[in-house]
Symmetry: none
Subunit: 205 residues, 4 copies
């Protein structure tokens, strides 16, 4: 049993952590994930390599935290409501709004590059994949569950439907196009997905 003596996080250098986050995101954006190296991150952050290895187990873990940090800061800046799906009573319109926003995000390079890298790493590395899903994806999916539950209670969604499955009718196609780049991601595409999927969930006559 190799008892790892954990470093003392009270003494951790906040300055270094921030510099590492920034360097990691910048490098992934500039040279791509595979060419981003731990050495490169350390050099760019003006940090010793050991300072990275002391706090993270892998390049992917660094990037995941950097990305979460970026998302947290964005959420904070977005105002008190944070991120949630609007509820105007019109399910189709609300989901259109959200999916269009998601499409925009996926077309934004500073978001796209690291998110894509993390997703890819998670596909192949179960450990990272679990973290990616748990810390990044799942919170977002819960927003759909919440909104769809409201719709279900309002009678806009069939009562027998599992909402975890329902939400995948929206996010699944979007993620598919995003990850594999089969066809371009546009607002129109988002609208069409919402149209079909909402129809599929609607109560039968």
């Amino acid at each position: 049993m190799t008892e790892m003596k954990a470093p003392d996080s009270a003494r951790r250098s906040e300055r270094s952590r921030r510099a590492i986050y920034e360097a990691a995101l910048a490098l992934v954006g500039e040279v791509g994930y595979p060419k981003t190296t731990v050495e490169g991150i350390a050099a760019r952050a003006g940090v010793g390599k050991q300072t990275i290895y002391r706090w993270w187990p892998s390049k992917a873990a660094v990037l995941l935290e950097a990305f979460l940090d970026m998302a947290d800061q964005a959420a904070e800046a977005a105002g008190p409501g944070g991120y949630e799906i609007p509820d105007t009573g019109d399910l189709e319109a609300d989901l259109r709004t959200v999916l269009r926003a998601t499409v925009d995000e996926m077309n934004t390079p500073v978001y796209d590059a690291p998110a894509r890298a993390l997703a890819a790493e998670g596909v192949v590395n179960a450990e990272v994949g679990a973290q990616f899903v748990e810390r990044l994806l799942e919170p977002q999916l819960q927003l759909y569950v919440t909104r769809l539950r409201a719709a279900q209670e309002a009678g806009q969604v069939r009562s027998g439907i599992d909402l975890r499955i329902a939400l995948e009718l929206f996010t699944g196609p979007l993620a598919h196009r995003w990850l594999l780049r089969t066809l371009p991601l546009t607002h129109e595409y988002a609208d069409q997905i919402v149209d079909c999927a909402v129809n599929g969930l609607a109560p039968r006559d």
Copy 2:
């Protein structure tokens, strides 16, 4: 000007190519994609490294061809019809059959490991991604287009719907769960997806 002198493919060693395919698939299955190296493939195939670099540009390209080769052989063994979606007239039943088969495939390790590796590489490397989509994914998606067109002509699918989008209602959610391992892939899940999606495509009253 770097004049690339192409190797003479007539003189190519068939024995080596087969050995490389087998070694690549075996290693990806055994140690995972990131730990599979070109050196390792060469050593296992009893082949010089240059023989790999002469014919393929990257580890991912080797694996892609190896995987296509495996798929071709499976298709050949599957009989004269090859792969196509059945058309019994009942769209929902036909798609259930296909999605259940796909779920089974994704739960088969010898298929899962290399396919997952290729998808992940394609997510991050546009070059590989394009190849992956064009040579592996697109032919399968066309089968859906064909079946859905028949359904549309039979009045089971709304006429205004873009079939490229329609098909993603089925494959998107499936791919999502498969790649990110959010929840287990089961026949029941396939059925539920088909249920909702077919409903969404159906003509409105």
Copy 3:
């Protein structure tokens, strides 16, 4: 201008110093000089690294002082006379006694390992070498000068001879064998060196 503020030696922890000496000597004996590290000494002594760097400029300096301390304690234990070369009137016999004792010391691991390490460091690092010679070697060589002067005055050594050179006829060969391990160091060898060298110093007919 780097104003070096010297530490206050009055407040120095005696306990720490002793622990550092012991740790340094023990580690050099156990794992050898190159694998002995400042971190290792600190850990073994139960001491912070800074406590070493505060009082010594280098690993070699620590070991030198540790060794001198060990020698001092040995000398103290040896009785009031301390170390000196006996003078029975028989130069050859007296030197035989001393060289045999030196041979024994060199064959004692607790003496050999650190002494060898210090000598090696001194060979390559002039600073350490000077300290090694001045504080460790020179006092011992002076003992030879004293004894040989007595012999010279008694007419047993040619009058023209420089005693600094004379003594090297004894210590030089011994050191040579010890440091480079060309051949084993034995009492017989000591005797033969003394025989030849005393003969070489003797007045000519």
Copy 4:
């Protein structure tokens, strides 16, 4: 049992070997042995690190071979006789010639720096020490044995004397001063050593 598969020395790059020798000797001369690193040698030689680790087990081994190579080239350039001790019949004069030459060599920086480094490493590392003695020192000592044997047969050296010990009367003091820098190495010093030592070896009346 870790069976090391030895590299094929027939395919070795002569160009790289020479570049490594030159870089190693140059660096030791310029920055000293402790600051000479394997990485530095590789960089200066325009060579990958692995090319060094493939052929040598350590920095010291590289330097030893580089030094031997330098010595071989010098010997080759020195003419057909190579290195040997002259025999004019006058033992004292012949040894004076040789020891003066040795003193000169030890005062030559390009010789001194690497030789000193190797000797120091050999003092502390028995493996290296054995190589140093066997490949560098022993051949030179044998020259003394040869010359002293001739003198012994000519009746200029006592018949009972072990020549391996006799030679150390000359080389021991010299090495002592050289390695530990106790006092300067001069021709006069060499002469005095020869004077005393030859006298010590001479037959007794």
